[in-house]
């Protein structure tokens, strides 16, 4: 296949779904929000923006104050027991029937796929895990497929690059949901960037265990984003944002990535909006 030279390389590889196509429920009255630890400390306003987006759709949001981390850092580092203990603590907090909305594909993937692995030898817990996996949604997917939002853009015309995290893309299958949300914004032109489907190099502990390789990856990602002609960068995962923004700042570049929730709320708060309520 010959690619026209103007088109970015490897931009739109869509990962195959891990399971069959997902059936989405009707819009609920209440949801849980899992804030994620990275967002908690570094991007709390993105969490608040997610809450406001959901509230705007007429949904009551519950944020159990006892929540902490999903357990992924220990899990991917091979400290399975520690991950299981932390996962168990979270499980207890989301035992009701409301959907669990997570403003991160990575942590959502942990709830939806990896908790099954963690508790595979505990049949009783596994039943809870399966039930939670069924009602765990990444934020973009929830807004689009469950809330069926209709966004009305109130912002000035702008070119935007969307970075999708690997877990959003491959574990949650939400690569195209972020695109569809941006496409609803009339003033937003989404531009592809070079090797868009490639990892930004974060990978949690990978970024400190293999700093040279991770650094090379994030520098390439920053260069691709800068080269895309986008004035703004959006992602629905704060791990990637922490990594990409850190690199852009180190390079003295003014470009910064913003969480999708913050971007969507900002673009639509001036105009009237809201789906079929």
């Amino acid at each position: 296949m010959n690619r026209p030279s103007s088109q970015p390389a490897n931009a739109t590889r869509v990962a195959p779904p891990l399971e069959g196509p997902r059936v989405y429920p009707a819009r609920p009255s209440d949801v849980y929000l899992f804030g994620t630890c990275v967002l908690d400390v570094f991007f709390p306003s993105a969490g608040m923006d997610a809450i406001r987006l959901l509230e705007r759709e007429g949904i009551r949001v519950h944020f159990p104050q006892a929540q902490s981390c999903c357990g992924q850092p220990a899990y991917t580092s091979g400290y399975t027991e520690e991950a299981r203990a932390v996962a168990r603590a979270q499980l207890a907090l989301f035992a009701g029937e409301w959907p669990l909305v997570v403003p991160s594909g990575s942590c959502a993937g942990m709830f939806r796929h990896h908790y099954r692995e963690l508790f595979r030898d505990e049949p009783e817990t596994l039943a809870l895990v399966e039930a939670l996996a069924e009602r765990t949604f990444e934020l973009a997917e929830f807004l689009l497929e469950v809330c069926k939002v209709r966004l009305e853009d109130g912002g000035a015309p702008v070119k935007v690059a969307l970075h999708t995290s690997c877990s959003a893309r491959r574990e949650m299958g939400t690569h195209l949901h972020g695109r569809a949300l941006l496409a609803q914004l009339s003033g937003v032109e989404r531009v592809d960037h070079d090797h868009e489907s490639e990892c930004c190099g974060f990978g949690g502990s990978f970024s400190v265990r293999m700093p040279d390789i991770s650094g090379a990856m994030v520098r390439d990602k920053a260069a691709a984003l800068k080269g895309s002609g986008a004035a703004e960068v959006v992602s629905a995962d704060c791990g990637c944002l922490l990594n990409i923004n850190g690199c852009l700042e180190k390079q003295g570049d003014a470009l910064r990535g913003e969480h999708l929730a913050s971007f969507l709320l900002r673009r639509t708060s001036a105009a009237s909006r809201g789906g079929a309520k």
């Binding site: 390389a9 490897n10 590889r13 990962a15 195959p16 804030g35 908690d40 400390v41 991007f43 709390p44 306003s45 969490g47 809450i51 949001v61 944020f63 159990p64 104050q65 006892a66 929540q67 902490s68 981390c69 357990g71 850092p73 899990y75 991917t76 091979g78 400290y79 399975t80 520690e82 203990a85 932390v86 168990r88 603590a89 692995e117 690997c166 877990s167 893309r169 491959r170 489907s197 490639e198 990892c199 190099g201 990978g203 949690g204 990978f206 970024s207 400190v208 265990r209 293999m210 700093p211 040279d212 390789i213 991770s214 650094g215 990856m217 390439d220 922490l242 850190g246 700042e249 180190k250």
Partner: protein
């Protein structure tokens, strides 16, 4: 598995190798360009995503079924090949495999061997072993021939010389083969072929690998594009095939989906130029083919992977190389940095069984767990899950039982274990967690500008003024 105690091995200097590779702009350009090309080629072969997924699921089932009766299939393969007149040898270690090959060499007083492409022979370091014993081994695959001239190892399991561009090959041929310098790729290939052609007829023995060993018919199937595989296996009077024990499949029907997945995933070809099916030596009424055919079945750690239900999936691999073509780490550091015969994602999960987790301790951690490898694997090996499992084995307390992987516990550190225990306490004690985050955000001004390797390539992250826990509590109340 060997009863011999595993002597602790020196770890491969992966991080140093990676650093050197990253500093080589030519190498980075060569790999990026080549991997982009291969990704596009593969994609063009699978325009229908649903069909691809059905085929991958099919391929996975075929491999899983073959592995579920691996011992039985190997016995059947041995019996059938023997009936076909092929001599079958079993080797637990690379030393045993080399000794077997050397015995055959001595029986024929062979001085010269021509080789088709074989990664198992690389595993054995056969060229080196036989070279030390006065036997000349010449690689006949163009890529292998090039890396052999450079005294290098293959940089990729399918395209051994993918790390080089035409200019580098031109210079190599000019220096080593004493031909005029030319960057014309067709001419370079012609030069290589002329050199190789003579050797096919002078060789006493031909050596090849095997893509699929078919138990039902006793057939060794070999795919290739240059015809060198067919020459190596038919022209010399003796043919020795070497392969890993996992390459056996039940019957010819099983080969069809696997073959289709292999060539399309590897080089983006619907089928290779040559598909060789070897079922025995020359028969009395036949005019060509070798008079003697041998198969060496090598274990080399594979039965360790086989013994564990999860790690067994490693052996699904049909060696297409798609995982490395799509790997952002491999693309940046190339194949040599891994310091192993099998580089890239598959190398990270298969090599610990061959060399032990102590020698390969850095390999499972050299992944951002992005999942690109698992996404494209034609037989659906869950490579990221297996990497995670190997990480778990690597940090397990050394005395812990049972022993799943040789060299387990190689990355165990009391200090790191304590850190994770503290992390667990923090994240299972809500009040403590909130207090810690409260302190972290209030002391944000004290955040150091340099925090370990993170800030080599990034500025230090700055905590927000207040946590989401606080903001949400204000907005939603205490829930």
């Amino acid at each position: 598995m060997s009863d011999v105690a595993h002597a602790p091995a020196q770890p491969i200097a992966f991080k140093r190798n990676a650093r050197e590779a990253l500093a080589d702009p030519q190498l980075r350009r060569n790999f990026r360009g080549a991997m982009d090309f291969l990704m596009d080629k593969r994609r063009s072969q699978f325009p229908d995503g649903d069909e691809l997924e059905r085929l991958r699921a099919f391929g996975n089932r075929v491999r899983a079924r073959a592995l579920s009766k691996l011992p039985e299939l190997l016995e059947r393969l041995d019996a059938r090949l023997s009936r076909n007149g092929v001599k079958v040898h079993w080797a637990e270690t690379v030393d045993e495999a080399n000794a077997i090959v050397h015995r055959i060499v001595e029986q024929h007083a062979a001085k010269k061997i021509i080789k088709g492409k074989s990664m198992v022979s690389e595993e054995m370091e056969m060229n080196h072993y036989l070279g030390d014993r006065g036997v000349d081994c010449l690689e006949s695959d163009m890529g292998e021939f090039i890396v052999q001239l450079r005294a290098e190892k293959p940089a990729h399991i399918i395209m051994p010389a993918i790390h080089l561009n035409a200019g580098q090959v031109a210079q190599l041929f000019h220096d080593k083969l004493e031909v005029d310098y030319t960057e014309d790729v067709d001419r370079l290939i012609q030069i290589g072929r002329e050199t190789l052609r003579r050797n096919f007829f002078e060789a006493d023995i031909g050596v090849s690998g095997v893509n699929f060993a078919i138990a039902e018919t006793g057939t060794l199937l070999l795919v290739e594009n240059e015809g060198n595989g067919r020459m190596s296996t038919t022209v010399p009077p003796v043919h020795i095939a070497v392969t890993g024990i996992e390459k056996v499949v039940e019957n010819l029907r099983d080969v069809i989906p696997l073959l289709s997945l292999l060539t399309r995933s590897a080089t983006g070809q619907a089928i290779t130029t040559y598909v060789n099916m070897i079922s025995g030596p020359r028969k009395a009424d036949e005019l060509d083919g070798p008079q003697e055919v041998h198969l060496v079945l090598l274990d080399n750690g594979r039965s360790q992977a086989f013994a564990d239900g999860e790690l067994r999936q490693t052996l699904n691999c049909i060696r297409c190389g798609a995982c490395m073509n799509h790997c952002p780490v491999y693309t940046r550091i190339g194949g040599h940095a891994y310091g192993t015969v099998y580089p890239g994602p598959i190398g990270k999960i298969v090599t610990p069984h061959m060399l032990g987790l102590d020698a390969t301790r850095d390999l499972p951690t050299a992944s951002s767990m992005c999942g690109a490898c698992g996404e494209v694997c034609p037989v659906k090996i869950p490579i990221p899950s297996l990497l995670r499992r190997l990480r778990e084995e690597a940090v397990r307390a050394p005395a812990a039982a049972p022993q799943h992987v040789r060299g387990q516990g190689a990355k165990y550190s009391r200090k790191e274990t304590m850190v994770w225990k503290a992390w667990r306490t923090l994240n299972t004690s809500p009040a403590l967690y909130r207090a810690a985050l409260y302190a972290g955000t209030r002391l944000r001004a004290l955040m150091p500008a340099h925090i370990g390797p993170w800030t080599d390539h990034r500025s230090a992250p700055k905590p927000a003024a207040r946590t989401l826990h606080e903001l949400a509590r204000e907005h939603l109340g205490d829930q």
